[in-house]
Symmetry: D2
Subunit: 366 residues, 4 copies
């Protein structure tokens, strides 16, 4: 093979273009070449496509990827966990690389806020060699320092990509805003991050979980993931009505922890009313700047709330996520979340499927 | 003495009335009668006066009080700390009583959110016997269960009332949103809560403290309390300009902890830009519901902030505050904060003085 | 019924005596009379019997009890959770009462270390009226201030007494020394506290749990409760051999959390070698003073361990335990732990059964 | 200069030898050559000298060093904080290098327990090129990855070496076992770590600090550092008597935090009795394995203690320490701690001075 195909975002709101790039055969020190097996479509990809987040076009999208190691650069002998690596190994990797040296990396130990963080499928212009820095392609070039994880044989790629970046995002968020065993939890949003948040809350021992979202096929997923109750926002359209149902579900006072995984700013106003006094509100979904809301800060003081943000994730959250996926129960649920598969040349149909909430999880098979 | 005088709020935005009530001579089990020596005027009293918080009129204001025990009801033998009590002892007390039995008191250990919490000087109608349940009076009747603190002889009443409820409020807030030694801290607001927050942050070892407030005589107080720098909001009127100064003061990235002690909702929008990524924002001043702001929740996710509320305080915060006041440095600063003293029949002048920020701390000497 | 029977510890190491006391018919303010339905035999009862803890003989043992309310004293209208109470209600209660006023209750919020804490079945001399202050009796007299819990109809008494004080003890211990989801956990000891610790660790999301204990029927219980592996100390008798197995089980470095639920001091020396560096060691079983060990403190510094103690429990831990028991899975397991039932006049046989580890959980049916 | 002198430990318990090594003039990528200005003698150096910790002899001792950059290897352009570096800069550095890749570095974020951690002045055999890997020498060769800190002009080298590794050790320990403002603290030991612990506790707002140690000149230092009281162990020789004094000093119940900085294992038995119930005990001084004690683990359960270990420190603790030293009060105290200075050829006299507790802090001026 002398060329590889990639689906490239060349202009916002336009169809991705299928382009060919020279196949790579050599990797520098610490680098790796990976043959892509499966690439997840993340909701963020839709935001990127629509131009809601600025990126250096053209970009090969795709930051949730599993593939097989083809070439290992000098010095790349072990994965992030210390397991030996060799060509042919099935691997996943953390989508971002940080500098490890800046104020946030070092002094404040908040590497997700690294001043020069770059993410595969987002931050790399495809016009610049080595071009292949996104998952919507047959081959991907991993920089030295990428946190690579060799996948255990009994951990299917479907589970890993089904969980996608949503699982690591939820793990990081809930690390910052812990769910304790016995807690009541409300999850706003039943997209991939919402489902992952349900999974993590359940694993952490939450005993009452309410999911607010839709459409019905996703609420059904939420229940399978562990939600004890669901509210369909298309059915119960009034915020006040939803609030009453949610409070009733959590014993009248509100939930110990509320996790916003929606993305629309209004969800923050709906969500902040749902924790009990002294409870926690994890604002996890406001990844893109989607504008202002009319907000009353008095509620924070009066209810002595903890409102917590969380951004992206670190390699150790990927590690924790992959360990969670070794539990057969979760492995199956996340793998089954994938209900739509497209070849690379139908990447646009795949993006449309995600945009329209028409599937569980949508993936490309390059 | 067969009657006692009290300054009574009978109608919002009207002058307090000086009324007389029958002097009390007997206390029921666990209750106490106290001869008031000095009563602080809190900013909250101004809010109450202006009708910004609803109370059961007529009300004898005053929830920051020191006096001498006159009568101890049966079974009242020791103060909250276990020290013996007798008539003549100089005492202060926590301004609120909680039920100790509700969901918030018991299950969630958040007694400041007790479902039936009542505060002296706020929650008691003066038309109902025993009438005397506020500090703007010559005598006060303390319910059984009030957390009374016998004051050490070398702790002047001025220091206790100079610190007022602001100190316990700041202590509670900073307990929820800790300042670590070496932290950089920005305090918004230089009223009594702001000054107390500076004191607590300083005692906790903050090494860079910036106070944003005014007028100049209060910024001078802020510097005496430990602020390493101040910004006069009347002088630097642009929020963006203040932001630049604040970030420069804290090394470019923002403060480890920002403490809002202002009360105007807009301060929350100004303040949320001032912590570094991963930093903390304590929303301590939004005690009254002063309306909505146009707010962008994306910042919480992106900066992975901790936004923390805190409401009132518990007896143990009063205890901690009184211990802080045993340190001569703080004792002197809080005592010296009192710069205006009025007799009871000038309670309206006292309120006007507080409303107009014309003094450090204003007190009544009934 | 004019008299009630009770099994009374009159002298250490001697058989309990069956005595009769006047049946109580009246309860003072806040007090309650309860007809005992089922009383658990705790390992502590064996310690008391053998004189390893000093108590005011004669004592009616029994601090794990479920019964029906017969008489409610004035003012006793609601249970600890705020649910209404009436005669005939099936109830359990926290075994200890604290003063709520001392240094530990108030200032340090450590009520389990209350300076005047007293426990039913342990701290009350049966010669003093009202005599009936232990569970090994047909009737029990509850003091005002006892934390009573009305049991939901669908929560069987067997589950509550099967869990006994062990569950609340484990909940408190793990609150102080938290298990996070995904943690590896080693539990030393498979008595009631060990099983309860497994349950709580499992509910909190531990993904690798190793139980070290015996005999085989208790290891079988441990596996049913959620242990992924067990080591029988009668089979693997060498501490070094057990250590190797335990480290292998936890990936070579040791467990994130080790929970000692044994009681023999030597278990502390075995256990402290089992956490990974920076891990946690909860010393939960050293309830009685069973003497000294030869101990090397260097390990604490070098492995930068957290070694945590925990004593008894508070009503809120009973509350949390009862909520856990509402989960059918746990309810069934704890109820099934009861494998030996004795009438009151066979209390000595019951104690012997517990002493000899011959049953799961042993109970009296008075 | 074509050779550099170094004081070399060639055999345990023997005098150090003054040897000459070829002066280095070139540094590989990321490496640095530093001209040593001042090297602290740490108590650990005495342990090494006496063979109580095993090292690869011959070793150039010295892990507390300040010097001037002579040569910067390729790519070494900035210090750990991101400040630009150039030849002639005065610098200090973290004494250890970790791999950043092992289980402890990555997964558990406990780099002080890195599986391949190496420390200057301890872990490097002087027979192996580049030989110069300890501070008791005129020149030192720093490996790539060393956390170098450019010292501000107004921070004297004396303060940095006076604080030595003791300050970073205390900062790390107290990070793991926090002192809160208002806490009472007992520090066992008044060597460099004890004094540093007093400094950090004081900066963190402790309001009652008791130091137990000696000899008198060090207790005088302890008082200057902030101890409110001291006990001379040569004067009050009975442990029980010291315990009574310590409890009386802390209000009868014991201290909120006790910090062991002694090193003798018996100090752990003395110290564990000194925290209040529910208090904390930081075992910071048991750096070397000095054997077993007869220990009663019951106290951990009964007093529900937190016993915390801490090992070494990370670069961020050095960073925090250097910031503390920017406060003039601490800068002066730590600089003044140096009371004995020796040239390199009197390194043995320097070690003897430290061994005999005959000085505040002892340093070499190579």
């Amino acid at each position: 093979m002398s060329t590889v195909k990639a689906a490239v975002l060349t202009a916002y709101e336009k169809p991705l273009e299928l382009r060919e790039y020279p196949a790579l055969t050599e990797a520098g020190p610490g680098e790796a070449l990976v043959r892509v097996e499966i690439a997840g479509i993340c909701g963020t990809d839709v935001h990127l496509w629509l131009g809601q987040l600025s990126v250096p076009l053209p970009v090969i999208l795709g930051h949730e990827t599993v593939g097989r190691l083809e070439v290992l650069g000098e010095g790349l002998t072990h994965d992030w966990r210390g397991n030996p690596l060799s060509a042919g190994d099935r691997v996943a990797w953390a989508s971002s690389i940080v500098c490890g040296e800046c104020y946030y990396c070092r002094v404040k130990r908040q590497p997700t806020r690294c001043l020069s963080r770059k993410a595969y499928g987002i931050s790399y212009c495809a016009d610049t060699a080595p071009h292949l820095r996104g998952g919507y392609a047959q081959q991907i070039h991993l920089r030295a320092g990428t946190a690579i994880f060799r996948l255990p044989d009994d951990l299917p790629s479907d589970a890993v990509v089904g969980a996608g970046c949503a699982l690591a995002t939820a793990i990081h968020g809930i690390e910052r805003c812990p769910v304790e065993w016995g807690d009541s939890v409300i999850v706003q949003g039943t997209g991939p991050v919402g489902l992952a948040a349900i999974a993590v809350a359940k694993q952490a021992g939450a005993t009452r979980i309410l999911a607010i979202g839709g459409p019905p096929h996703r609420l059904e997923l939420a229940r399978r993931f562990g939600a004890d109750g669901t509210i369909d926002i298309a059915e119960v359209t009034g915020i006040e009505e939803r609030r009453k149902l949610a409070l009733a579900f959590t014993g009248g006072f509100g939930a110990d922890v509320v996790i916003e995984c929606v993305g629309y700013p209004d969800a923050v106003n709906e969500g902040i009313d749902l924790p009990r006094d002294g409870g926690k509100f994890l604002v996890l979904g406001q990844y893109a700047n989607a504008g202002n809301i009319s907000f009353n800060p008095h509620i924070i003081t009066r209810k002595q709330l903890i409102v917590q943000g969380s951004w992206g994730f670190e390699p150790r959250h990927v590690d924790r996520g992959l360990r969670l996926l070794e539990i057969p129960h979760w492995q199956r649920l996340f793998a089954d979340e994938i209900t739509a598969r497209f070849p690379l040349d139908q990447a646009n149909e795949a993006l449309e499927t995600v945009k329209g909430w028409r599937a569980g999880k949508t993936v490309l098979i390059p």
